[in-house]
Amino acid sequence: MSINNDDVEKIAHLARLAIDPGQLETYTKNLSGILALVEQMNEMDTNGIAAMAHPRDTKLRLRDDVVSEVNQREKFIKLAPASENGLFLVPKVLD
């Protein structure tokens, strides 16, 4: 299945990616090519096959509900692009 420029703009929005209008055509072409590749899967009838999410169908372990992380607030805040009073700063979300 090939996708069009509108599809790519919609996907880019879902993925939170700004797309340069000049590059839209290239993305559409490349993504259509990749989708054509993955659609080779359709030649195989997979009815009744159980989906495999993990090699060896590993089950996730549970651990005891105890605190294992130490407080590294200072270290983390130092990495932030913007911070104030030990909090991460982002543009205003609510008025």
């Binding site: 879902l14 993925a15 993504l31 990749i34 993955v38 990495l79």
Partner: protein, 481 residues
């Protein structure tokens, strides 16, 4: 000193032929002399010399472990406390991890020296190292050719003898294919063998870290240090770690080597086919028996992978939003605009393509047709291996459909690039251990790798099979410089 194996280096250190500080300086001199290869993103001269001085104290006290004082390079995907971890991306160009990955912690505890962090395809997405924000890595065998990827910097560093050994990661072939292109021994362990804690996630159900070395004997030493259960990785498997060096010399008499008919068809490059067959004949001389096997769904592995890996990547990479760490765009109107511009500017084209493919495959209305379908195909591919291993002990075939290609050959065609991993991807989908060892040189004097695939947690056997071959051949001893 740079030609020695890990065992010889350990012996030299123990005998005081050279100190760890001298050894570390020697490799830094080589890194500086071969800067054009661009194998490293970050070199840590000061830190590594300090580690070497500490190692010399331990060596002097006679308390050395097998890697004490031995320099190494680590792929820049492993978080290192205090030293930049970029993952080959502008997004993390300024990121200094607040903690060590489990793998890094283990190597530190083993006393090895970290020379620096190696170049890689951005977020490990690529097969040529051309997607790195830090520029392309040159293949030491021919500097007009790619080193492979995504662990291309690690491969080039070890091939050019800028480090005695390195770590890599492999999601669809990223250890084995560059090992093949650069003439190295590279091993992707079974899923769950090596902790993924602190290893920046690309596709969490496929990613594994492993050694990139000049011989199977060296790989065994690295794998010993890397392996083991880690409660910080929820997919780490709690299974005993064998002594990987103990069985290296085991006799191969009676070993059954499976040859997948699908790998040896007319599509295979005749030069690679003939080198692969020569290697298999060598195994027959060692007492192994070749048996034909079939992996009938292997042709679906690339299509299946390019749904699952991008889907997992789109989810994993959603954490890069410019809010808490990494790059943030300088100008934005609101939160959504900040996210979109940050990610558009911080990620390169290939990463963006894969995020979009993943977002599409997971979006409403397409989930069943793509993601669920791919998970079912994954089951078929995994079942193929289960059936094949009834007939054989290991599987052998080519690592890559070609040798190292030229820069720019595939950059305009993502699908052509993806097909380079046609023989390696199914191993990740099944979670099996796989290895690439040097098996010859093509007519342009570029290395050709032989792939060996083992059963779950049977890395010891793979290493044994690789080591016996390396005892009777000398491809792994060839050096480009």
């Amino acid at each position: 000193m740079h030609k020695k194996s890990l065992q010889e280096l350990a012996l030299g250190l123990a005998n005081k032929d050279f100190s760890s500080v001298e050894l570390t300086r020697h490799f830094h001199d080589r890194i500086a002399a071969h800067q054009d290869i661009n194998a490293f993103i970050t070199v840590d001269l000061e830190g590594s010399l300090q580690q070497a001085a500490e190692a010399d104290t331990i060596l002097g006290a006679g308390k050395a472990l097998p890697l004490t004082g031995i320099p190494m390079a680590h792929k820049d995907i492993f978080c290192t406390d205090g030293l930049r971890t970029s993952c080959g991306s502008k997004m993390l160009d300024n990121f200094i991890a607040p903690y060590d990955a489990t793998l890094i912690r283990k190597f530190r505890q083993a006393g090895s020296i970290m020379l620096g962090k190696t170049n890689m395809d951005e977020f490990a997405m690529g097969s040529s190292n051309e997607t790195s924000y830090y520029g392309r890595v040159l293949n030491p065998w021919n500097k007009e050719h790619v080193p492979g990827g995504s662990s291309g910097g690690s491969a080039a560093a070890v091939a050019a003898q800028l480090a005695p050994a390195a770590t890599g990661t492999d999601t669809g072939g990223s250890i084995r294919q560059p090992a093949s292109f650069c003439g190295l021994t590279g091993l992707k362990p079974s899923y769950g063998r090596v902790s993924r804690y602190g290893m920046i996630a690309f596709a969490s159900s496929l990613d594994q870290a492993g050694p990139m070395t000049r011989s199977a004997a060296d790989a065994a030493i690295l794998l010993q240090t890397m392996s083991g259960f880690d409660e910080r990785d929820s997919t780490s498997v709690d299974i005993a770690v064998p002594d990987f060096s103990a069985g290296l010399e085991n006799d191969l008499k009676g070993l059954k080597i499976g040859m997948p008919v699908e790998f040896f068809n007319d599509d295979l490059d005749p030069g690679i086919a003939s080198i692969t067959m020569d290697a298999l004949r060598e195994y027959e001389k060692l007492g192994a028996e070749l048996v034909e096997i079939s992996l009938p769904n292997s042709h679906l592995s690339v299509p299946c992978y390019y749904v699952l890996a991008p889907a997992e990547a789109s989810s994993n990479l959603s954490r890069f939003d410019g809010a808490r760490y990494g790059y943030r765009t300088p100008e934005y109107d609101d939160l959504l605009d900040m996210y979109k511009k940050t990610r558009a500017e911080g990620f390169g084209d290939e990463v963006k393509r894969r995020i979009m493919i993943g977002a599409y495959a997971l979006s409403a209305g397409y989930y069943d047709a793509y993601y669920l379908k791919a998970q079912k195909i994954r089951r078929l591919i995994s079942d193929d291996f289960t059936r094949a291993f009834v007939k054989c002990d290991v599987i052998a075939g080519p690592t890559a459909p070609e040798t190292a290609f030229r820069f720019g050959d595939k950059t305009d065609d993502p699908v052509a690039m993806y097909l380079n991993d046609i023989y390696t991807i199914s191993v990740n989908l099944a979670g099996l251990p796989g290895m690439s060892i040097p098996a010859g040189m093509d007519r342009d004097n570029l290395p050709v790798g032989l792939q060996l695939i083992g059963q779950y947690f049977d890395e010891a056997r793979l290493l044994n099979v690789a080591h016996r071959y390396q005892q009777v051949t000398d491809w792994h001893t060839l050096s480009p410089l």
